[in-house]
């Protein structure tokens, strides 16, 4: 306001002064008059008030006088007033209500001295034993207050008081008497002032005279005085009572007398309020009250309350306002003046300033870091400062004149959305006419090819009068860097707070320096169960801890630092010293359960180092603690385990040269006392120290070593082999190596032994002559030794993994899987465990006989089969050769023998005359021995035949007993010759057996002759026949030397005789029992013997009894739907045989013996097939066939012809039908081919050579045509030619027509046998087979050749054509 001041004291200000003065003056006047008015009013009021007071006092005094007068009147009226009367009187007055301030009304009796004692007694007699008049003393006149009502409280003190004794009172009393008027005392102290708060007091007396006495003069009155009715008054109380509340306004002092001395002060209302007096009272006045002889001076002063009534705000308001108005006017004037002046000065200044400002602005414009763009009123850019150029990336020249709508501007919002030009602050400001500030936008800076962020303000300014002069100032600051920094800071803050917030696994609690929690993150919430709200700002971490822990730690810290550390300090003390402290504590969850934690406490400091708080990061280590405990337990278990494990174990420090733990077995292993093991270097025990170094190296790479073969050298023991395993482990917190050692020294020895044994076994396998093949349960070949390779012609590689059946010919090849399965399922073996001769097939297809023995073993729980194969081709050949040789030789031998035996027989018999004795003896010897030879040869031949299966048995059911008897008879002579008797001790007349009679005789003969031979002379040989259990047992017993134990097992062997010397004596070939056994077994029986040396022998054989078979009665159980075959055969043997064969294969059989019965049977039942003998007694087989074929039901019935022809052929080759097949003429091509195929497949040659011996050239052509492309066909038309060719050439097969011009084909057979032993022969049967038959029957079989297999094959192939593919 300097300008104002300036104005103030300038001439321009005079006006203002004038105004002020005028104003003030006016105000003054007004104010003064107001005051005057006021004062007058107050004065008047005061006067009024004073009068009121005076009046009130005077009135009251008069009232009081009235009371007293009343009292006096009572005395005057009654003469004597009793205490009770007085009491009633005063009661009626209702002093308290009506006359506050009056103490009471009383009567004081005037008592001359002479009546004092009596007065006292009289009063005492009223019931006041202590009454006395006080003060005591001699006086001229006594007064005694005898009544004072109310007679309570202070008033009691006045009882008996002699007021006359007191000067002030006396004066008043005297005055009263003398003037005979009411009088009051001056200021007294009442006797009632017994308490504090003494007041000034006075009394008012009204004299009571005796009415009867004159009262004209004073003296008279003294004599007439009875007493005084009086009232004591406390001045204060009285005044108060009189004036009540009005003393608020007026203070007065009441003085007794004219002075205002203090001892005359009766009452001063202002006393109590002396302190409140600040200034003297405005009004005061003095009044006088004539109060019954006293002059009371009443000084009245106005009180502030009174004064206040007469002061009002107007007192000050008016002048104030006035002054104020004046001043305002003054000021206004002043300011107007000064303003004007100022304006003038300003105008001048402004001009100067403007120029300055413009300059300054320009500088600012140029240099400011903020961009400034000035737009015209249409928005186009007028100017832009360098900062704007820089920020926007454009020069002024480029920008000038451009409108914000110009597409060159590219702007975006903070969120990247487009910032339209119309929203530019400048445009908004332009449109709306007001400043727009703080708009953040991104601007594309083409010079930098980047966005710049700016905060832009736009200010519209009018720089001229007209609108064209309007300018918009856009000011923007480049926020880019700041924004980036902000962003970064925000990001990092966000990141931090995200971290803190989301750290839900780690509890973060921050506190202020005193421990009050400031941060309680999510992790803490989760861990402790409190919410942040409950904790932040409200509590310290103390609630989270176990108090005892804190206290204990406090003690520890206290001891450490020598001063007490408690409460929150416990947590932070160490952290402060060392920067942070990590310690394990127990947190207490809200629900009370305990959580072990690891707590890191860090003080947070600001730059100056002052601590701003503490940070506590806690991690729940329940798991860790549990893990630690588990680890400890685990280590414990581990140690226990190691201790008790049966393998030697030791733990060495990592580095491997220092044993830190070992179990007992380890110390046993290394032969060291258990106590001495610790600290040993295990490498000392390794036979090869490099082994251990290598082990350590591998362990160092992190390998685990298992089952390494390690040789140890143990001092005092020697070398041991162990299987060692090594493991790098953690042991008691440090890296270590665990080593297990399994002592396999023994095992090693065993292993070595086993290896040697395996080698040995392998050598055996490799070198043995027989083939060993092992197969698994599926038949796959597992092993194949060199001998097997040799035998089969395959190499090991060719067969391993293949099925064994590749080594078998058909049909076994196909059936083998079945055989194996069957065995595995049922355990029934055909070969396994049994061994038999079978055919094998070599690689080149050649079939060969082999002996096969198979054993089952178990390997890895699965069955395996070990087969031993012996190629018995040679043996077979040898056997065949031998038997052929034997039979040839036997034949050869027989011939000359016949002659010798014959000749000698003649001579011995004496047919040629008598002989000299010696000659006779010689001849006899010769003859006997030639016979012996013959027997021997026969026996030999028999054995061979039996062995070759060529012995023919003509088995017939017949009665047994006749045969027995016949045998006995035949041997009788022999027995007689040796003086041994034969007796039949038991017989079985009903026994029927099915035997070959001749052979049975042979058996009996052998047994009997043996028995006779070995019986001593005169002994008996007993024969018994017993039937039991379907068998007939024939026993031949002798009482000879018996059979020694050593011989028992050999007795049935060929050429076995107990004592060869005996042989010479007893004869015999030694073949007897062997042959006998064969014969018995062939007839279905069994032979045995009982014998003890020295106790004779009992030879017995059993034969099954023969029952006539019922049609189905004793056949095996058949399936209900077994196919039914009709057997048509008149020869009962053959019928029986067929029956047996067929039922044994599961067929049901009906047998008929003639054609008629056959036809009938066919009518009655359905048959699956029929066997037919052609030679039937009644109808020829052919007719039967015709009839059967004509019936529709049996047109398709399979018929098998079983023919008995070809007997002569049989004889010619001694029944040796092996390798011969039969074909009936005319030839069925398919059948012939089939047969040829079959036969020749056995030969195995690529292109077999066949000799066809046939006289019918045409037929030959036919046959040749049929088969020539597969075979090399040669023709011989006569027997002679055939013989010659067979002798010279090799043929694989001979097809033989029996009907040759120069002989029977039969004659060729022996030759074929001799020259071409391996050749197959196909015999073409003769014309006795009607063509119709052959065409209409399925197969023709020869009875003598018949094998069950053939028949069944023929049958089954016809009955179940789909299942069996083979053709008969």
């Amino acid at each position: 306001m300097s300008s104002t001041r300036t104005t103030l004291f300038s001439r321009h200000g005079i006006l203002a002064w004038v105004v002020l003065a005028t104003g003030l003056l006016l105000v003054m006047l007004v104010w003064l008059s107001l005051r005057e008015e006021r004062a007058r009013s107050a004065e008047a009021q005061f006067e009024l008030h004073a009068r009121e007071v005076v009046a009130a006092i005077e009135k009251r005094l008069r009232d009081h006088e009235q009371i007293l007068l009343g009292g006096a009147g009572l005395f005057d009226a009654n003469g004597e007033v009793t205490r009770a009367q007085w009491q009633h009187f005063v009661e009626r007055l209702r002093l308290a209500d009506n006359y506050p301030g009056i103490q009471g009304v009383g009567f004081s009796q005037a008592i001359p001295p002479a009546r004092l004692a009596a007065h006292i007694d009289a009063i005492r007699a009223e019931g006041f034993p202590d009454f006395t008049v006080r003060p005591a003393g001699d006086r001229l006149l006594y007064t005694s207050i005898i009544y004072l009502e109310p007679f309570v409280g202070r008033n009691l003190a006045a009882f008996g008081y002699d007021m006359f004794s007191e000067p002030t009172r006396r004066m008043a009393m005297q005055s009263a008497v003398e003037r005979n008027a009411t009088s009051i005392t001056g200021k007294v102290k009442l006797v009632q002032e017994t308490h504090s708060n003494d007041q000034a007091g006075f009394l008012m007396y009204v004299p009571v005279f005796n009415r009867n006495l004159p009262q004209r003069t004073a003296e008279e009155r003294w004599r007439a005085l009875r007493g005084f009715v009086y009232s004591p008054y406390r001045a204060g109380d009285l005044m108060q009572g009189i004036l009540g509340e009005s003393d608020l306004l007026v203070d007065f002092t009441l003085h007794d007398g004219g002075s205002v001395a203090a001892d005359a002060l009766m009452h001063d209302t202002g006393d109590a309020r002396a302190n409140e007096r600040i200034k003297p009272p405005r009004h005061s006045t003095i009044r006088h009250i004539q109060a019954y002889g006293h002059d009371w001076k009443l000084t009245l002063r106005s009180r502030p309350a009174f004064e206040a009534r007469f002061s009002s705000p107007l007192d000050w308001l008016v002048p104030g306002m006035g002054a104020g108005i004046s001043l305002s006017l003054f000021a206004l004037t002043l300011s107007l003046l000064s303003r004007r002046q100022k304006a003038m000065a300003m105008a001048g200044d402004m001009m100067a300033k403007r120029a300055e400002f413009e300059e300054r602005f320009h500088q600012l414009f140029l240099h400011t870091g903020q961009g400034v763009v000035i737009h015209q009123s249409d928005g186009r850019i007028l100017d832009a400062n360098p900062a704007a150029e820089r920020i926007l990336g454009m020069s002024l020249a480029q920008m000038k004149g451009a409108s914000p709508m110009d597409p060159r501007w590219r702007t975006i919002h903070e969120d990247g959305s487009n910032f339209p030009a119309r929203d530019y602050p400048a445009m908004v400001a332009l449109r709306e006419g007001h400043a727009v500030t703080g708009v953040v936008m991104g601007v594309w800076n083409p010079a930098e090819s980047g966005w710049r962020w700016v905060s832009m303000d736009a200010y519209p300014r009018n720089e001229g009068i007209a609108d064209q002069e309007q300018r918009i100032y856009s000011v923007f600051s480049d926020l880019t860097e700041q924004r980036a920094a902000d962003l970064e800071a925000r990001q990092s803050r966000k990141f931090l707070s995200d971290v803190l917030a989301s750290a839900s696994e780690v509890s973060i609690i921050a506190t202020d320096p005193d421990g009050l929690i400031t941060v309680f993150n999510r992790g803490a919430e989760r861990l402790l169960g409190y919410s942040a709200n409950e904790m932040v700002g409200k509590l310290t971490p103390a609630v989270l801890h176990v108090p005892e822990e804190v206290v204990a730690r406090g003690h520890a810290l206290g001891n450490q630092f020598g001063r007490p550390i408690e409460g929150f300090r416990v947590f932070v003390e160490m952290a402060e010293r060392h920067g942070s402290e990590t310690r394990e504590w127990t947190y207490v969850h809200r629900d009370g359960h305990l959580i072990p934690v690891s707590l890191v406490v860090t003080p947070m400091r600001e730059a100056s180092g002052v601590i701003t708080g503490y940070l506590g990061i806690a991690e729940d280590i329940t798991q860790r603690k549990a893990s630690e405990r588990e680890l400890r337990e685990s280590e414990q278990r581990f140690r226990s385990m190691l201790e008790t494990c049966p393998t030697a174990a030791r733990i060495a420090r990592a580095g491997g040269h220092d044993v830190i733990f070992s179990n007992r077995r380890y110390s046993e292993l290394i032969n060291v006392e258990p106590g001495q093991v610790s600290g040993l270097d295990p490498s000392a025990f390794y036979a090869n120290p490099e082994d251990y170094a290598d082990i350590l190296l591998r362990l160092g790479k992190g390998e685990q070593i298992f089952d390494k073969l390690v040789e140890l050298t143990i001092p005092g023991v020697g070398n041991k082999w162990t299987l060692a395993s090594y493991l790098p482990i953690q042991y008691e917190g440090a890296a270590a190596v665990l080593g297990w050692f399994y002592d396999i020294s023994d095992l090693k020895k065993i292993e070595t032994a086993l290896a040697e044994q395996a080698q040995h076994t392998q050598a055996i396998l490799d070198n043995m002559v027989d083939g060993i093949i092992t197969i698994d349960q599926k038949g796959i070949i597992n092993s194949f030794n060199p001998a097997a390779e040799r035998i089969f012609g395959y190499t090991v590689e060719e067969v391993l993994g293949q099925n064994i059946k590749m080594l078998m010919p058909s049909p076994h090849r196909d059936a083998h899987d079945g055989y194996l399965n069957h065995y595995q399922k049922t355990g029934e073996a055909r070969i396994i465990g049994i061994g038999r001769e079978v055919e094998g097939q070599r690689k080149d297809g050649e079939l060969f006989p082999m002996e096969l023995a198979i054993a089952e073993v178990s390997r890895h729980g699965k069955p395996m089969y070990v087969g031993m194969v012996r190629d018995i081709t040679e043996r077979k050949r040898m056997e065949r050769m031998k038997s052929e040789f034997v039979s040839t030789v036997s034949h050869e031998l027989r011939t000359p023998l016949t002659s010798i035996s014959g000749a000698l027989g003649l001579i011995v018999a004496g047919a040629l005359g008598a002989l000299p004795e010696q000659v006779q003896q010689m001849i006899a010897i010769a003859h006997k021995n030639s016979q012996r030879l013959t027997h021997l040869i026969n026996d030999l031949l028999d054995m061979e035949k039996i062995a070759a299966g060529k012995l023919h048995f003509d088995l017939q059911p017949q009665m047994l007993m006749p045969l027995i008897e016949q045998a006995l008879k035949e041997n009788q002579a022999y027995g007689v010759a040796r003086r041994v008797a034969l007796s039949l001790t038991a017989d079985a007349p009903e026994a029927v057996v099915r035997v070959d009679a001749q052979r049975l005789m042979q058996v009996l003969g052998n047994l009997l002759s043996n028995a006779i031979k070995y019986s001593p002379e005169d002994e008996t040989v007993e024969v018994a026949v017993v039937v039991s259990a379907g068998k007939a047992r024939v026993t031949v017993a002798d009482h000879g030397p018996g059979i020694p134990a050593s011989f028992r097992s050999h007795i049935f062997q060929k050429f076995a005789q107990a004592d060869s010397s005996d042989t010479r004596q007893k004869g015999g070939t030694g073949l007897g029992l062997a042959i006998t056994r064969e014969l018995v077994e062939r007839m279905g029986g069994q032979i045995g013997f009982d014998s003890k040396e020295g106790q004779g022998s009992r030879f017995h054989f059993e034969l099954p009894l023969w029952n006539v078979p019922a049609s189905t009665s004793d056949t095996p159980l058949l399936a209900a739907n077994a196919p039914r075959i009709l057997v048509v055969e008149d020869d009962p043997d053959v019928a029986y045989l067929l029956h047996l064969m067929l039922t044994g294969s599961g067929y049901a059989v009906d047998t008929v013996s003639n054609g008629t019965a056959a036809l009938e049977a066919l009518q009655q039942s359905r048959y699956a097939a029929m066997t037919l003998d052609l030679m039937l007694p009644d109808i020829s087989g052919l007719d039967i066939i015709n009839q059967v074929r004509q019936q529709p039901e049996t047109a398709e019935l399979p018929i098998i012809v079983v023919s008995a022809k070809m007997e002569e052929g049989r004889l010619a080759i001694n029944g040796d039908f092996a390798g011969i097949d039969w074909l009936a003429k005319p030839i069925n091509e398919a059948r012939m081919l089939d047969m040829l195929e079959r036969q020749l497949s056995r030969v195995g040659a690529a292109r077999p050579r066949v000799l066809h011996v046939e006289d019918d050239a045409e037929l030959h052509q036919v046959v040749k045509a049929m088969v020539a492309d597969r075979f090399d066909f040669d023709l011989a038309t006569t027997l002679g030619e055939a013989l010659a060719r067979v002798a010279q050439e090799h043929f694989d097969m001979v097809i033989l027509d029996l009907g040759l011009p120069d002989g029977s084909g039969w004659d060729l057979l022996p030759e074929i046998r001799a020259r071409l032993p391996d050749a197959r022969v196909v015999v073409l049967s003769g014309t006795d087979m009607p063509p119709e038959v052959s065409r209409r029957v399925e197969a023709v079989l020869l009875k003598s050749q018949i094998s069950p297999r053939q028949l069944l094959d023929a049958l089954s192939s016809r009955i179940q054509p789909k299942i069996q593919g083979d053709r008969a």
């Binding site: 010689m922 010897i925 006997k928």
Partner: protein
């Protein structure tokens, strides 16, 4: 050279005994003692004081070779010529019998007419 007169013939088979004895006595004119077993031969040999012994090979009890060895124990028979008689006359077998101490082996069956000269031939060799 003394003549062969007395022959001890050891053979268990009676028929052959008869034939051989006849052949030797009748044809060769020797004195023949027949023993049916090696044991009997040992008992009788010294007493009989043969010039030569003919031993069957296949005999029960003591067979030919055993009998020979036993006989050789006897001082008076230690050097006596001995011949075996057997059907097994393969060259190898003959060598074997000779190695046992026999002078030679006579094959069975023998020709009774030639037996005597065979024996004499062995004795003279």
């Amino acid at each position: 050279m003394s003549t062969l007169q007395r022959i001890l013939y050891v053979e268990d088979e009676p028929d052959i005994q008869a034939v051989a004895k006849l052949a030797l006595e009748m044809v060769g004119g020797f004195t023949v003692k027949v023993c049916s077993s090696g044991e009997e031969a040992l008992r009788e040999a010294v007493a009989f004081a043969p010039d030569m012994i003919l031993l069957d090979v296949m005999m029960p009890g003591m067979d030919g070779p055993s009998t020979l060895m036993a006989l050789r124990e006897l001082p008076s028979l230690a050097e006596l010529p001995v011949a075996f008689m057997t059907a097994k006359v393969q060259p190898a077998e003959v060598a074997h019998y000779k190695s046992l101490g026999a002078r030679d082996v006579i094959a069975k069956p023998f020709d009774p007419m030639a037996l005597a000269s065979q024996v004499r031939a062995i004795w003279e060799a």
